[in-house]
């Protein structure tokens, strides 16, 4: 005859499994609603798509002890101020192109993806692409002919030609500029932008 204490019994752990799972899931749902309200485009953490009309930087914040995106004055991309709708269309084209060209299986975006090529989270702000006056042009040339304009840094790794059109390249650049404005809690840490920070 078995005598098992209640805390080791099957029925106790069955109830625990049900309650713990249900409780955790409920908490996740509540947190999901809250997070969605805070990461929708147009909020403090994730700016509107029309932020691509502005100057963006990523500067060290003494109070937070990490860098934060800083939105400045007008700095239209490709020389034209876009409406919110136009900006969203352009960023959407960029996001769809980034998915269609399978960028994430070489690069990381917000640190997620593959590790064969640099992270794109703050690529728009990277000193490698020079001052903002020439940055969009250099990026566009690179995206449309990455082999001819290869930046291997001596690694021998070249981005392949993916048939990116001029319009798609502009979309990608708009997407990268918008993504660089997202508050990522200081990731990547210690990043030095082209703005000299």
């Amino acid at each position: 005859m078995e005598q098992i204490p209640f805390w080791a019994s099957k029925s106790f752990w069955k109830k625990m499994a049900i309650w713990v799972t249900a409780g955790s899931f409920l908490l996740l749902i509540i947190l999901t609603f809250d997070t969605m309200s805070k990461v929708t485009a147009g909020t403090k953490r994730v700016p509107d798509y029309s932020v691509i009309n502005k100057q963006i930087d990523y500067r060290y914040d003494e109070s937070k002890h990490h860098s934060m995106p800083v939105i400045g004055g007008d700095a239209p991309l490709f020389g034209k101020i876009l409406s919110e709708q136009e900006a969203e269309q352009l960023v959407t084209l960029g996001k769809k192109t980034i998915q269609a060209k399978n960028c994430m299986n070489c690069h990381t975006l917000l640190g997620n993806g593959a590790y064969f090529a640099p992270d794109l989270t703050k690529a728009w702000l990277d000193p490698a692409w020079g001052p903002e006056s020439v940055r969009p042009m250099l990026m566009k040339m690179f995206l449309m002919d990455p082999e001819g304009n290869a930046r291997t840094y001596g690694s021998g790794r070249k981005m392949p030609n993916l048939g990116i059109t001029e319009q798609e390249a502009e979309g990608i650049i708009a997407f990268l500029k918008w993504m660089s404005s997202i508050n990522t809690n200081g990731f990547p840490y210690n990043f030095k932008t082209a703005g000299g920070q």
């Binding site: 078995e2 799972t21 899931f25 070489c106 975006l109 917000l110 590790y115 021998g156 990522t184 840490y189």
Partner: protein, 483 residues
């Protein structure tokens, strides 16, 4: 005298399971081949440049892995479904249809990945070529097919159990499959906002791999321990409930460790850090469980290779998913390790330890029955093969894991902490001899892994063929008597 593989030894569910296992092994091979191609490209970047670029090889590598593991799980459940429920499978024809639909879909998806590769930046590409989201790159039409096949699988499991015996394993399994199919839907919509995109993307990736898959292998493990060692149902089912409570209790909110840097609010740093730090606990419980059961039975079991792989599973899951995950899960370190080879190191050991091992254990159980419950104990004819396969596969994966870990350390220091994560800092890290040498070692251990796989397949094809002894009979487990 030889014992042929004879399907008359199998019930209908097992015949269906064998089909899943065969495709699983083929896809396992594809995973290794494309992993090797991608690994070679780290060392020789011009290799297959413009023909099969890194992003294509890496995509097929990780997709083949996910799919072969799913095939293994589905096959394992079909394998024990009739024995566990005491009934014939509810929808055998439907199950067969599901198998062929899934296999045809996987074939077409891989062919398109390899031949078409990428498309223009529009909706057509996402629906018919490539969704471009890591792990769930399958185009949308295939997503719908996957959900339909999962629903067929769910129907067969739920209805077969409800018509037959409804055990604790049946209950956990059925509810887990609801979650498994439901969660996949979270990855089936397009959104431009990448913070929202990655929020839901992690619902699929994390809540599959670090929650529902773990519970699914918990069910498979529970049945396996009963079958392999003769452990009493009451004990395995109690452990199963403990594992579900701990797994979901830590894993559901442990999801937060993916929300540190994607734009989500700061409270995820604390929630994700805390709960994901607890994630190794259920994996410790699994190790304790399996060691306890093996000890009680003095390691006497019906199938030595299967038990060896179950032990590899218990330790591999704990080390790969538990320890390697814990090492970089707290935000204070993850800030530097996120998106580096640390993750690749963790991924290699975790997927192998948690999932490849349990599937291989099941392949051995299946082959044993397929040859008519043949002897697979001590002094097995050709027994060196399974031991070398186990040794080489484990050595290969552990070697790759260590090489990638060293690369990850180097990347975290040189690219992240010192260089500040710019493009030039990234390449400074990639060009450093510590990184380059690590990639060479990773490739060498990749070859060791492939050698182990070759031996494994050879062994699965011939093990037990020349045995005349029947499988060992298990001793009745003594009841626990207290006080």
């Amino acid at each position: 005298m030889t014992r042929p593989l004879d399907s008359s030894n199998l019930n209908d569910g097992q015949k269906l399971a064998v089909k899943y296992f065969v495709v699983a092994v083929i896809l396992f091979f594809a995973q290794l081949v494309f992993g090797m191609l991608a690994g070679i490209q780290f060392v020789h970047p011009d290799f297959l440049y413009g023909v099969l670029d890194f992003n294509v090889n890496r995509m097929v590598h990780i997709n083949a892995m996910i799919v072969w593991m799913l095939y293994g799980f589905i096959g394992s459940v079909y394998w024990f479904l009739e024995e566990e429920s005491g009934r014939e499978i509810a929808g055998l024809k439907l199950g067969n249809l599901g198998f062929w639909v899934l296999t045809a879909a996987v074939t077409v998806v891989v062919a398109v990945y390899l031949l078409v590769q990428v498309g223009p930046g529009n909706d057509f590409t996402r629906w018919f070529i490539n969704e471009g989201r890591e792990y769930i790159e399958a185009p949308r039409w295939a997503d719908i097919g996957i959900v339909v096949v999962m629903l067929i699988f769910f129907y067969n499991v739920a209805v077969t159990f409800s018509r037959g015996k409804w055990s604790g394993i049946a209950g956990v399994l059925t509810l887990d499959l609801v979650a498994l199919a439901g969660l996949y839907l979270a990855g089936m919509f397009y959104v431009t906002n990448i913070s929202i995109d990655q929020y839901w993307w992690w619902w699929v990736i994390h809540l599959w791999v670090e929650a529902t898959w773990e519970v699914l292998v918990g069910c498979i493990m529970a049945w396996t321990l009963m079958h392999l060692l003769g452990v009493r149902r009451k004990i395995v089912e109690t452990w199963l409930y403990i594992e579900v409570a701990l797994m979901f209790g830590s894993g559901i909110l442990g999801l937060g460790h993916h929300y540190f840097w994607i734009g989500s609010p700061e409270y995820w740093l604390a929630i994700g850090g805390f709960f994901s730090a607890l994630e190794p606990i259920p994996l410790v419980a699994m190790v304790v469980h399996s060691i306890y059961d093996s000890g009680v039975h003095k390691l006497r079991n019906r199938n030595h290779p299967a038990l060896a792989w179950v032990i590899a599973h218990a330790f591999g899951n704990f080390l790969g998913a538990g320890v390697w995950g814990f090492m970089h899960t707290l935000p204070q370190i993850n800030l530097y390790t996120h998106g580096t080879q640390w993750t690749a190191s963790h991924g290699h050991l975790a997927f192998f330890g948690a999932y490849a091992t349990i599937n291989i254990a099941f392949f051995y159980l299946a082959v044993q029955r397929w040859r008519g419950d043949v002897w697979m104990g001590a002094n097995l004819v050709g027994g060196w093969r399974w031991k070398w396969a186990l040794g080489l596969l484990s050595l290969g994966v552990i070697g790759m894991t260590m090489a990638l870990l060293i690369a990850g350390y180097e990347q975290s220091f040189i690219e992240r902490a010192m260089g500040g994560s710019t493009w030039s800092a990234y390449f400074a890290g990639q060009n450093h001899p510590w990184f380059v040498e690590s990639m060479v070692w990773r490739m060498i251990f990749g070859w060791v892994t492939i050698a182990g796989f070759g031996l494994l397949v050879w062994d699965l094809l011939v093990i037990g063929k020349h045995e005349v002894r029947p499988a060992e009979t298990l001793l009745e487990e003594p009841a626990l008597v207290h006080g």
